[in-house]
């Protein structure tokens, strides 16, 4: 009887459970001794909460006014005026055609006026025939990002919104009524304005959802109070809130226990900016929805949690035992870098504005003065949201303001050079492990009126937690910094396509969402005319394959339907917006460290980025020109996909191991192979000739040809040059020589180069001091005759067994052709190679010197070309050493010093010379005689 047994057991079970509960409660109490109730914030004084009129809300029952309440001590007007978070672009709002904005129809660079294809809705300006977003509707739509004040309280002309007469045609005082489908007047008096909401940022647990809901509902006056829900200070009462009298003391001031005000922490900032995860539970994120704006556009996640401990489905996750963001892990807060600009803790005058004799100016704001008038403009970088608050660009302390890169990059060859060219983020944000938006296609819409969008860095793209996240490698774009430097920095590129039309006033405007829906949809489904053309498989639905403007017919249909709505000249535009990636930084252990990540064919530097899986309407998008990036790479279509590949050479960058000038290599290889072919042919003919006729057995004598030092410097130079050629080749084409460590090869190349130069210098000294240099200087008289004689020998005589035209003697080792060759090599090739090499090495010490001579893009290919010539010379040189009377005679001589040379009847002139110099070492001057 299962039921009986259940009845029998449950009291006992309950007893045990109750017992356990008591025990554990007791245990918990024992471990954490009960503390006296303390003020939530021990420093903040108690205060009364006031409404718009300045009356205590306990009496009036009205929603609170932050301006009045916080304004009792803090200068709220100053705060409001010094806050781009409040302003959101209102200050530079202008309905006249803009030139410095991203789009011709933008009225500012901020959220209030700058159109973004991801959010799509357009803030209507005065006098436009078709209203899209009015000011109230803008607040309702973007409430999540609207902190209040600025355009949520002030008109575009700078007057209080409550002072404007409500007219349905005025984009400031109307709202779209979905029931009637028309715009109706908006009563600001009734809704109230949105005051700057201090609580969103200064409460540990603001109820942001309630705030957003209040804004969405148009109950603007209540937004601040809604934020307090859950704090115990207010209680929800239907659509509004009432004050909880228990939270106040007898004087009508808020009880200290409820005052939990604090400095903003990461979670506060996260409410608008992007995903922050500061708790122990495994982090999860699905898809790239715009709820987390910064994460959606860049993949940045601010969390100290290790990726391996997250709850996401990331490929090879267990190996990723690194935090999402090293700074979050190290306990940094957003405000540590993005600090209030007059916060005396962080503020430091820039070196430029400070008198030269001062290192530190101790005259600064007192804490109390700061608390009274804290600047709410926060230090910002210079990349993300490039044109927002431009006067504050670069007020933030960047990586290098806190980190001493020099002390930690000692392992990196050419560290200075790398730092000159690469932003820290380029290597320290090697991969982003969250999905980010790749493309938005507004040329088509789903049956629900949504655009087609795709995330990058994720497989599956169902927008659910089970999608496999691979992450993505940011594209590196040259970023022009304020200080004049151009550094490569990581970006995500988001491409978007949308319809635009010509307003009657001649302005180009994006097609309104409601017009798009009218053109596409009817009664919650696609219009029948649309289905006729788009539904290719006739199943009644439009799949994502069918929902694509890939034919002219489809494109024309939509254009015609938009035109039918009265929109003139509807057409598709596409744009690419770079989103700067500066967070999600890794420490050195996880940064790009391997040389060949960049010094290889598949270099990070030119890592292509897929912009879109298809190109809607065949419109190739253009880069939005409101970022400090240079986008002169290549935009091309591969398959259906649109790809952007950054250029390196075009950006005056020459990455060893990645960049090559093809014609240099072709020409060099051709010369080298030509020489090889030449000497092979010559050698073959010699062998044939030798077989045909009896061996040429000239009379020979042993001569001490090369002194010890000559042999030594020759062989040292031989090894150095051969090794330089090999190491140079590896540096040139590291992909072909995966066995070698690029870093060590580069350093070896440099050491060998120094060795070569020192050896050459010592050798030059030897030849100058001993006068041997004369051997290398061609004698002008009869030089050409002699040269021709020598050439004839190589071309003809050698095959017939003829004697060498010139006797090789210790004082005249070189024949005229050799003299000419060495003259060129030693006076032209070697110096050029040394100079170009030195300048390339010196590119970090004296970049100006290299730049004066064309920089690496010129020097490096030139160096390669000469290397090819050296290689060719060596091939010829080695072959020609075999042209003595015996193939190995000359090589032997260079090893042992003694050479068997053909005896020549000396010409009178030469004999005289020998006698005069008394230098004929074959006779007696050499202590040891050859063992014949």
């Amino acid at each position: 009887m299962p039921q009986t047994s259940q009845i029998k057991w449950s009291p006992l079970t309950l007893l045990i459970l109750g017992l356990l509960f008591l025990i554990s409660a007791r245990q918990a109490a024992a471990r954490q001794p009960k503390q006296e109730p303390v003020p939530a914030n021990p420093i903040h004084p108690v205060f009364a909460i006031l409404d718009e009129t300045g009356a205590n809300v306990l009496q009036s029952g009205n929603p609170l006014s932050t301006m009045q309440t916080c304004g009792q001590c803090h200068d709220t007007r100053f705060i409001l005026e010094h806050s781009f978070h409040a302003d959101l672009g209102l200050r530079d709002y202008s309905s006249s055609p803009q030139t410095d904005t991203a789009h011709s129809w933008d009225s500012s660079n901020g959220l209030f006026g700058r159109w973004n294809p991801l959010t799509y809705r357009y803030l209507s300006q005065e006098g436009e025939a078709n209203l899209d977003l009015t000011t109230p509707d803008w607040i309702r739509l973007f409430g999540r990002y609207v902190i209040g004040g600025g355009p949520a309280a002030t008109s575009r002309a700078g007057n209080p919104l409550t002072n404007i007469a409500a007219r349905a045609e005025d984009p400031q005082t109307s709202t779209f009524d979905p029931v009637s489908g028309t715009y109706v007047a908006w009563d600001w008096q009734q809704s109230g304005v949105v005051e700057m909401n201090c609580f969103v940022c200064h409460l540990p647990q603001p109820d942001n959802a309630a705030r957003i809901q209040a804004l969405e509902d148009g109950r603007f006056r209540w937004a601040s109070m809604a934020t307090l829900s859950g704090s115990g200070i207010v209680e929800q009462n239907g659509d509004t809130w009432v004050w909880n009298p228990d939270a106040f003391d007898e004087k009508g001031e808020l009880d200290g226990a409820y005052i939990a005000l604090q400095d903003p922490d990461n979670d506060n900032c996260a409410q608008c900016h992007g995903l922050v995860h500061s708790v122990e539970t495994p982090l999860t994120l699905a898809g790239c929805t715009l709820d987390n704006w910064q994460t959606a556009t860049t993949g940045q996640i601010i969390s100290g949690q290790k990726i391996s401990l997250s709850g996401m489905n990331i490929s090879d996750k267990t190996a990723l035992a690194r935090p999402w963001d090293i700074h979050a892990e190290r306990g940094l807060q957003c405000t540590d870098c993005h600090f209030s600009l007059n916060n005396p803790v962080y503020y430091r005058a820039s070196a430029e504005t400070q008198p030269a004799h001062l290192v530190f100016d101790p005259r600064r704001l007192d804490i109390s003065e700061y608390l009274q008038m804290p600047d709410h403009n926060f230090a910002r970088g210079q990349s993300a949201q490039y044109n927002v608050a431009p006067e504050l660009k670069d007020t933030m302390r960047r990586c290098e303001s806190c980190h001493d890169a020099g002390s930690t990059h000692t392992w990196l060859p050419y560290a200075d050079r790398h730092i000159q060219e690469l932003a820290c983020e380029a290597c320290h944000i090697p991969q982003v492990y969250a999905p980010a938006v790749q493309q938005y296609d507004w040329t088509v819409i789903s049956a629900q009126g949504e655009p087609l969008s795709l995330c990058r860095g994720v497989e599956g793209n169902t927008g659910t937690i089970t999608d496999l996240v691979n992450g993505f490698q940011p594209v590196l774009l040259p970023r022009q910094n304020i200080d004049g430097k151009t550094l490569l920095a990581p970006y995500n590129l988001i491409s978007a396509w949308y319809w635009v039309y010509d307003d009657p006033s001649g302005k180009t405007l994006p097609v309104r969402e409601q017009d798009l829906q009218s053109a596409w949809l009817k009664d919650g489904d696609y219009a029948p005319e649309i289905k006729t053309v788009f539904d290719i498989n006739k199943n009644g639905n439009l799949s994502s394959d069918e929902l694509n403007l890939d034919t002219t017919a489809k494109k024309n249909l939509i254009a015609a339907r938009l035109a039918a709505l009265g929109l003139k000249n509807p057409r598709i535009q596409g744009e690419i917006q770079p989103y700067s990636i500066n967070h999600g930084v890794v420490n050195g252990e996880w940064a790009t460290q391997d040389c060949q990540s960049c010094h290889s064919d598949a270099s990070h530097i030119s890592q292509p980025m897929k912009l879109a899986n298809y190109v809607p309407g065949d419109v190739v998008p253009e880069f939005v020109q409101d970022a400090n990036t240079i986008t002169n790479g290549r935009l091309f279509i591969e398959g259906n996909a649109l790809i952007y590949k950054p250029a390196t050479l075009a950006q005056d960058m020459y990455i060893f191991g990645h960049d090559r000038v093809p014609w240099v290599d072709w020409l060099g290889a051709l010369v080298f192979l030509g020489v090889l072919a030449g000497v092979s042919g010559h050698g073959a003919m010699r062998i044939i000739a030798a077989l045909r006729q009896p061996a040429h057995t000239p009379k020979v004598k042993k001569v001490y040809m090369y002194a010890v030092y000559e042999r030594f410097w020759h062989w040292l130079q031989t090894f150095a040059i051969v090794l330089l050629l090999i190491t140079g080749l590896i540096i040139h084409r590291p992909d072909m020589f995966g066995l070698f460590n690029f870093k060590y090869v580069v350093i070896t190349h440099n050491i060998l180069a120094v060795l070569l130069v020192v050896n050459a210098a010592l050798s030059l000294f030897f030849h100058l001091a001993s006068g041997e240099i004369r051997q290398f200087i061609p004698h002008p008289y009869g030089f050409f005759d002699d040269a021709i004689l020598q050439a004839k020998f190589y071309l003809r005589g050698i095959f017939k067994g003829a004697a060498h035209p010139f006797e090789k003697t210790p004082v005249k080792k070189l024949n005229p052709l050799q003299q000419a060759t060495y003259f060129v090599i030693l006076n032209v090739l070697l110096p050029l190679q040394v100079i170009t090499g030195a300048l390339m090495w010196g590119v970090q010490q004296w970049p100006a010197a290299a730049d004066a001579l064309g920089g690496l893009p010129f020097l490096a290919p030139f160096h390669s070309l000469i290397a090819w010539l050296f290689a060719s010379f060596i091939a010829a040189h080695v072959y020609l050493t075999t042209t003595g009377h015996k193939p190995l005679a000359s090589i032997n001589a260079m090893i042992h010093g003694w050479e068997e040379v053909e005896e020549h009847p000396l010409s009178v002139e030469e004999e005289a010379q020998h006698d005069l110099s008394g230098n004929d070492q074959t006779q007696g001057t050499q202590p040891e005689s050859p063992a014949v």
């Binding site: 035992a321 892990e329 062989w715 090794l723 063992a931």
Partner: protein, 480 residues
């Protein structure tokens, strides 16, 4: 020329030297790993099989020991010097007693099964000797009573029964033939099951370590260490002391991470700066009882009731328990010693928590570091008149576990412990600290900055004696 045959060689050597020497001098060397712990791990010697050496048969354990001593004549004497045999520490001078005292199972209590005295029948199953019975003077000098098999027999062939004698039915010859160096199984039989079951006493030692995964314990799992890899043993003297049964421990007696690892092995300078104040264990053992739960609470006061039993929540003989898994340790300053160890007869304040042991060290103590502990909380009996903890007789024919009569159990104990029982008893809360040092996880699971610093800190900085989070306020050796 006579030397012409090797001229080329001399020349080649010199030329090569001129090239190679600068390369050696100027090529950067790969940074030598600062930490090379493997070099310090003792080599395990392959054990000689004793299968043919000990034919048996053996009538009892003592005969086995005699056989062992024939070839290893000094070993019993060695074992008899160790606390495995004596169950008693060296004498300590302590400030709260006039005479020096020893601490051990032989004479003190804990807050698990409370005390051994008078309960030898069962407790001696973990003593390395045979035949230790209550009320019988035990001959600690009889070498034949040393139980070699307890540690050296294959754990599957041997088990100990009452009074430390071999359990019924053990084939002593088979056990003797199976002997080898100690393993995790042989040590684990007692040390994993201490306190009467798996994971009762230690939060960091339990049966999951018989076959540990790399993620559970990097040393025993990934590297397959046996206990003696760290508890280096020479002449049966095993390195490592349990602070719960000692007062002070000489550093040379204790196993330390730095026996194999360098003091500051991290690549990250910031991490190395923690070493002066944070023990390795603190970060590298993020939680205890990762796989098997450990007992964190034991309430003796509810024992003796006829309610449904469950190994993890209630046993009639023992009372109510809480077992917990993935337990976050308690963190205290710890210099390796105790500042207090409860000794039988110490008076208590029953309104307050009684600490069976208290780790020594505070923020002022430069030798102390923040260290993770398992805290075992118990509700155990005390004499309400004399105000000291009572040790009941639990085993035996009249023990509590037979008759469920506390009065009788305390009265019986009077003669054994020499501690008078007033006739009034109650239960009081006691805490016992167990250092956490095993179950070191792979480095990628070590604690991160935000585990201790910032809002979600697992450390109570104020309680540890800091002004606040040292990330902001500065550490004890560094002003900020």
């Amino acid at each position: 020329m006579r030397f012409s045959r090797f001229t080329w060689f001399i020349g080649l050597s010199i030329t090569a030297a001129v090239i190679i020497i600068p390369l050696i001098l100027f090529l950067p060397r790969a940074a030598e790993s600062r930490d090379n712990p493997q070099a310090f791990v003792p080599q395990q010697i392959t054990h000689t099989s004793h299968a043919d050496l000990l034919p048996g048969p053996y009538a009892n354990g003592q005969e086995v020991t005699q056989a062992c001593l024939e070839c290893h004549p000094d070993t019993a004497e060695q074992v008899m010097q160790t606390t495995h045999w004596t169950w008693e520490s060296q004498p300590f001078n302590i400030p709260w007693r006039n005479e020096s005292v020893t601490i051990g199972k032989i004479n003190q209590i804990n807050n698990f099964c409370i005390g051994v005295q008078g309960n030898e029948k069962q407790c001696m199953s973990c003593h390395v000797g045979y035949g230790w019975q209550e009320n019988v003077d035990y001959d600690f000098s009889n070498q034949h009573n040393v139980d070699c098999l307890a540690c050296h027999a294959d754990a599957n062939t041997y088990a100990k029964g009452y009074f430390g004698n071999p359990a019924e039915g053990v084939d002593l010859a088979a056990a003797a033939q199976s002997v080898s160096a100690t393993t995790r199984e042989t040590c684990g039989k007692c040390h994993f099951d201490g306190g009467g079951g798996n994971g009762v006493k230690h939060g960091d030692l339990d049966e999951s370590l018989y076959f540990p995964s790399a993620n559970l314990d990097v040393h025993m799992g990934q590297l397959d260490f046996q206990c003696t890899a760290c508890h280096v043993t020479e002449d049966h003297v095993i390195k490592g002391r349990m602070v719960a049964d000692n007062y002070t421990i000489d550093p040379w007696e204790q196993v330390a991470c730095t026996d194999c690892h360098v003091e500051a092995p991290h690549e990250d300078e910031r991490l190395n700066s923690h070493v002066a104040s944070v023990a390795c264990q603190t970060c590298h053992i993020p939680s205890m009882a990762v796989k098997n739960p450990t007992k964190t609470f034991w309430d003796w006061s509810t024992a003796g009731q006829d309610i449904p039993e469950d190994h993890y929540t209630y046993l009639k003989i023992k009372g109510t328990f809480i077992y917990d898994k993935n337990v976050k340790p308690h963190y205290l300053w710890f210099n390796g010693n105790l500042s207090y160890r409860y000794l039988l007869g110490d008076t208590i304040d029953p309104t307050q928590i009684t600490y069976i042991n208290l780790p020594a060290g505070d923020i002022q103590d430069p030798t102390a570091r923040i260290f993770p502990f398992k805290v075992h909380v118990a509700n155990q009996p005390y004499d309400t008149v004399n105000n000291y903890l009572l040790q009941p007789i639990t085993g035996g024919t009249d023990g509590y576990w037979t008759n469920f009569d506390w009065e009788q159990a305390f009265e019986l104990a009077e003669d054994v412990t020499g501690l008078a029982y007033s006739g009034q008893y109650g239960f009081t809360e006691t805490w016992m600290y167990w250092p956490t040092t095993h179950m070191v996880q792979p480095s990628q699971y070590a604690l991160q900055c935000t585990d201790c610093h910032g809002k979600e800190s697992r450390l109570d900085w104020i309680a540890l004696g800091y002004h606040g989070d040292p990330q902001i306020w500065g550490g004890r050796f560094q002003t900020k």
